[in-house]
């Protein structure tokens, strides 16, 4: 039995659900919005983790679950709670239920794609960059500072510099402009992250178990996710094949970070150097699948069904974006 958690209409979740249906795999959806109609308990006795999840009228033994795909929104922001006072019983129950589910997923003897603890490396981008560096990737130069003069020097040295959030809170990556420099005094209040702009072709590499899907992204925008807004042209995505060496490097990185499913952001420079910017532990892969036809959702579904490691697929020859 597979457990899928989140909002079923959310595209990445919906696509995995569709693949599980096509495979005829038994699965159940914990729809966060129906939390009030669910119950859960678990216990840890020695090395045995057991318990029960009730969804509506049906109860599931937790030991039945061989695969779990949690892709949950912040439960505090569920529409069902929008009119609830801060400490209402419904709000507290929602939090407690999600906490119980999350705690169980951290220790469940199932394949959880992904657990929270390994996902946390992405809560700090420069921290994660240091882990990435330990696995042999080049990383861009980063400066985090409260000193405007250091930023001016950093920009003078690199020419093009971008700034973005340090944490996992989503921000639109922006290039530092002359106009921005005029308001640099504001960073004295909070350390802010600046990063060398690296020229080259963006590559998003999804790893799932031992499967790898590489997508090259051509865009003039600083942040290709917002290409239409930033450059007036949508990004162009196409499937590419990585060299064996780069494939192995990506798989090693994802495994070292404890991630069953990862979205690795690379940039290949004109000199064929490979920079790694980030490893996304909860990749919104549907954008890439929709634009290239790469069957990422099917790989996620296969991994969930297999319960343990997925088979390594042969990937092509040459790193070329």
């Amino acid at each position: 039995m597979i457990l899928v958690c989140g909002i079923p209409s959310e595209t990445p979740l919906r696509m995995v659900i569709s693949r599980l249906e096509e495979m005829g795999a038994p699965f159940v959806v914990f729809n966060q919005r129906h939390f009030a109609n669910c119950e859960m308990r678990f216990e840890v006795n020695g090395q045995e983790v057991s318990g029960e999840l009730r969804i509506g009228e049906r109860a599931y033994n937790l030991q039945e679950f061989v695969g779990v795909y949690p892709r949950m929104m912040d439960d505090r922001s569920l529409p069902e709670l929008s009119n609830e006072p801060p400490d209402s019983n419904l709000r507290n129950y929602c939090r407690s239920l999600h906490e119980t589910l999350t705690r169980w997923m951290e220790i469940a003897p199932a394949r959880v794609i992904n657990r929270c603890a390994p996902m946390a490396s992405n809560s700090s981008k420069p921290y994660q960059s240091q882990l990435i560096r330990e696995h042999g990737f080049l990383i861009p130069e980063i400066l985090i500072t409260t000193n405007p003069e250091l930023v001016r020097g950093f920009r003078a040295r690199h020419g093009r510099v971008i700034y973005k959030s340090i944490s996992a809170v989503r921000s639109i990556v922006q290039e530092l402009t002359d106009e921005d420099e005029e308001r640099l005094d504001r960073i004295r209040w909070c350390p802010t992250q600046f990063q060398q702009f690296v020229e080259g072709t963006n590559l998003r590499v999804h790893t799932i178990g031992n499967e790898v899907f590489a997508t090259a992204v051509r865009s003039e925008a600083t942040d290709y996710r917002y290409a239409a807004r930033q450059s007036g042209e949508p990004a162009e995505l196409r499937e590419v094949t990585l060299s064996d060496e780069l494939t192995e490097q990506c798989l090693r990185l994802a495994h070292a970070l404890g991630l069953e499913f990862a979205g690795i952001d690379l940039k290949v420079t004109p000199d064929n150097e490979v920079y790694c910017f980030e490893v996304n532990p909860c990749p919104g892969y549907s954008y890439y699948e929709a634009n290239t036809g790469q069957e990422i959702s099917a790989a996620v579904a296969r991994a969930l069904v297999s319960g343990t490691g997925s088979k390594k697929e042969e990937v092509g020859a040459l790193a070329h974006a």
Binding site: R41, R103, W104, E106, P126, Y127, P140
Partner: protein
């Protein structure tokens, strides 16, 4: 130089700082979370070749990674100073940014760092008791049954598993030794295994005396009360800091 990083409300951190100074470890700098939050200037750089940190505190002291040989790290969270000043809608974001920043510079500290941060805790891994119970059992400690339900408040899950009224012992494992109390050797070895398995250099392990007379796991923390370890713990800390630091 060696750093003792803690908050002003952390008696253990202040005790370690005084203890190391009295033992002649020098220079050892006390760096309070509150000092880092207010008026300090930051420069944290990283690239493919390494990591650099320079903090200029309001009192003029400069803490530079090129001179740091190690640290006792008891920072649990950035002091909320800056985040508190943020607009209401930005407070959560500002706090997340500070937490992320601290995780990065603490990870990049050179030398011996006790404890190094992890993605789930600035001074080491803060695991949920359900996970500690699994690990403690694997390490060979007797464990109680842990139970949690959606009807329990989340806070309940983080409480000690010791029954009310039970005799409690709080041990500190560090450098392969146990400080702070006498327990059978099998118990102390299991505590050391637990710390190793959790990749936590210094781990506080709380035990309770069960009805069968066995010291049984109740909780664990990467930020224990250190004073119970007394002089032997201070000597061990001093030895590891000085032997493991850069020449």
């Amino acid at each position: 130089m060696w750093l003792v990083l803690c908050s002003s409300s952390d008696p253990s951190g202040l005790w370690v700082y005084e203890g190391l100074r009295q033992m002649g470890i020098a220079p050892v700098e006390l760096v309070l979370a509150e000092w880092l939050a207010y008026g300090s200037q930051w420069e944290h750089r990283l690239d493919t070749n390494g990591t650099h940190l320079k903090i200029t505190l309001q009192d003029g002291r400069v803490l530079c990674s090129s001179r740091i040989r190690g640290a006792i790290n008891r920072l649990m969270a950035p002091s909320p100073g800056i985040a508190e000043r943020a607009a209401a809608s930005d407070k959560e974001y500002a706090q997340a940014e500070l937490q992320a920043f601290y995780l990065s510079w603490l990870h990049g500290l050179p030398g011996v760092v006790i404890n190094r941060p992890s993605a789930i805790g600035l001074c080491g891994s803060w695991l949920h008791p359900s996970e500690w119970v699994l690990r403690a059992d694997r390490a060979g400690l007797p464990t109680p049954v842990f139970r949690q339900s959606g009807h329990d408040s989340p806070e309940k899950g983080y409480r000690s598993l010791a029954p009310d009224g039970a005799a409690i012992l709080r041990l500190i494992t560090f450098g392969g030794e146990v400080f702070g109390g006498q327990v059978p050797e099998t118990t102390s070895r299991a505590c050391v295994r637990l710390a190793r398995e959790a990749k936590t250099e210094m781990l506080g392990v709380e035990l309770y005396l069960a009805g069968n007379g066995e010291w049984t796991f109740a909780n664990a923390t990467p930020c224990p009360d250190l004073s119970a370890g007394g002089k032997p713990l201070l000597e061990s800390l001093a030895h590891i800091l000085t032997a493991g630091g850069r020449p």
